[in-house]
Symmetry: C2
Subunit: 374 residues, 2 copies
């Protein structure tokens, strides 16, 4: 709850510590290199081409995005190797992907259904182009992805379509083991990697040209990437880290580069402080108590160990205070620093970030791919 | 799940039905007029000056906002009577409020602490201006607002400060009765109105010039506004309505003017459809199961009565399908229309809306006050 030394922007605002971010980028790049796997970070966490360029300078082969509109922003920002890890199924979106290919971007897109594959094939042929695709595999999250047992057959179908070049398979499932949330990241990642490597082997035996075997994520990527046969990892959150990753033990709270500054606007009772950030400022997708982590509250309040960020409405955050001197002395106008539960979705709520540079000064940066939904 | 007749924008996107919106605006204006109370809608729901102007044309006295940055956008968009129903405590924010006053805006701001009141007094005196304030009262929500029993004393303090003109009191608590969530809106609203009217009476007896007695909200506003002594209501959600209000019985689902269009991108299993909107597209602040409503899922899927919008990640929505023919026939590429649980926070995730005009055509509109956090 220290006041920042330099002139601070008005609260609430999101501050990125550049030194911590650089250390996170370099640590993951070194770990991927040590495993001998490609690193293709997911840009969903930062949504900023300039941060993506730093990841590539540190050794990443390219970036991952979820939407074609994000790919367009990243391509315009100088990222020329992109994987849209999402099934593109509408003609308009596939045409936008083909436009990037025509502009010289090395673009890969996801596919997980015969209908999606046929749509890509039709649009690519109509454009006189070939689109590189990877088949998404469901390894236990029950989200997108062809069911594991049906993957070999669909891969054969996709590989046979004109205008489509199948070069790999990918999955995402996070901290899931045997279909359930887990904190055992080593076991979860090992299972994820093994399922994918074995499947790739079967596909190759069937004559399919599977080059890339790509897996998630910040919590599991390095465990899955250690499995022989896995060729690429796609962690996203590691660039800033957050309270969720610290609770997994993947980082320390001190490694978290993204923090929200808020002001206390009301102290109506000894045990209650209200801050000027609520659900418009902090994401609510990682709710307190959710398995496997069971986080207490909506964020870690730096320097107020006996306080719980208990409730939010859109513009209000309600902090239940304990009896420490720090809590008792908290006053209207004090600035608090909060490490959010989930940095990716929190950053998506902000139009800009303030990057704290080595000099200590704060540089305002627009989040160019924020709110890209299409 | 019908395909829209006119050329549709890419999904996911938020569509506002102008006819339903106009009917909602007119119905609330007529109800407030019938009660003889002022209507000052909260702009947090639409965040668009052009919608605010329609509310004022229909009879609203002005608008309510939560942040000074929202007031600035609304003032620039032609709304010249604004209430920032939020305690402004920092010098920069108070100075921005005074700038609007100097520009001729009729501006009122909230206050709920001696520290906040002193800050307003100091900045206003330094600017040679007077700032109109209302004292926020906590009537049971435990958010901002001076505790009810301490309000008379603080009102006297505020009224005595130079540069500050205390003209009213306000509260917000939503569907709360005796401190607990309730579906008994009539009882909740009546209690809210009575607490405020009695307090205003005591303040006037003490010689304080309390003119405005302002209460929430879409669910409780008309009940609270019916209590003699209440002078103003500040509903917000009614302009579009949402699934939460329909569950309260305040509107029908058919009155909901804001709907999210999504595409099915994956059908990996008979009971699972994945759509291209997740927690970046639909707000997660009103979680399934939350008291008092206990909503099932994250939204109402129009025309798919046996389906549940069960899970989300950032870009994926997982819909558990039933056995109806509509569910069974759902295919990759189909477009679904979803009424979100909470329209205000959902709209905040979108950069633009598409307004469906009487002609049936869709007009793209920027949400000018979206993401205004300060």
């Amino acid at each position: 709850m220290s006041k920042p030394a330099e002139p601070a922007p008005e609260t609430p605002c999101l501050v990125i510590d550049e030194g911590k971010m650089r250390a996170n980028i370099e640590r993951m790049a070194a770990s991927a290199a040590a495993l001998g796997v490609n690193l293709r970070p997911h840009a969903k966490t930062h949504k900023m081409p300039e941060v993506g360029r730093k990841q590539i300078e540190a050794g990443a082969v390219g970036l991952t995005v979820a939407k074609i509109s994000e790919a367009e922003v990243m391509a315009a920002g100088g990222i020329r190797d992109l994987f849209v890890a999402y099934p593109l199924v509408t003609a308009v979106k596939i045409d936008r992907a083909l436009r990037l290919v025509r502009d010289g971007v090395r673009l890969i897109v996801g596919v997980d259904s015969p209908a999606g594959a046929r749509a890509i094939s039709a649009r690519a042929q109509s454009a006189g182009l070939e689109l590189e695709v990877r088949l998404e595999i469901d390894t236990g999250m029950r989200r997108t992805g062809v069911p594991y047992g049906e993957a070999l057959e669909l891969a054969g179908f996709v590989a046979g379509l004109p205008g489509v070049r199948l070069t790999g398979i990918y999955t995402f499932r996070g901290a899931i083991l045997d279909g359930k949330p887990t904190k055992d990241l080593a076991a979860a990642g090992e299972q994820e990697g093994r399922l994918m490597a074995e499947l790739a082997g079967r596909m190759r035996s069937a004559g399919l040209p599977i080059r890339d075997v790509s897996v998630g994520s910040t919590p599991t990527g390095l465990y899955a990437g250690a499995v022989p046969g896995v060729t690429e990892i796609r962690p996203g959150t590691y660039v800033f880290h957050d309270r969720m990753q610290a609770a997994f033990g993947v980082c320390g709270l001190d490694d978290c580069a993204g923090r929200v500054l808020v002001s206390v606007v009301s102290r109506p009772a000894p045990d209650l402080a209200v801050i000027d950030g609520g659900s418009k400022t902090f994401a609510t997708d990682v709710q307190p108590g959710t398995p496997p982590l069971g986080l207490v509250g909506f964020g870690h309040i730096v320097g107020l160990d006996d306080a719980v960020f208990e409730r939010m409405s859109e513009e209000h955050g309600m902090i239940r205070l304990g009896s420490s001197a720090q809590s008792a002395n908290l006053q209207v106008g004090d600035v608090l620093e909060i490490i959010p539960n989930h940095i990716c979705s929190t950053l998506n709520l902000h139009n800009r970030v303030y990057v704290r540079e080595a000099s200590g000064s704060l540089a305002e940066r627009i989040i160019a791919a924020r709110g890209m939904l299409e």
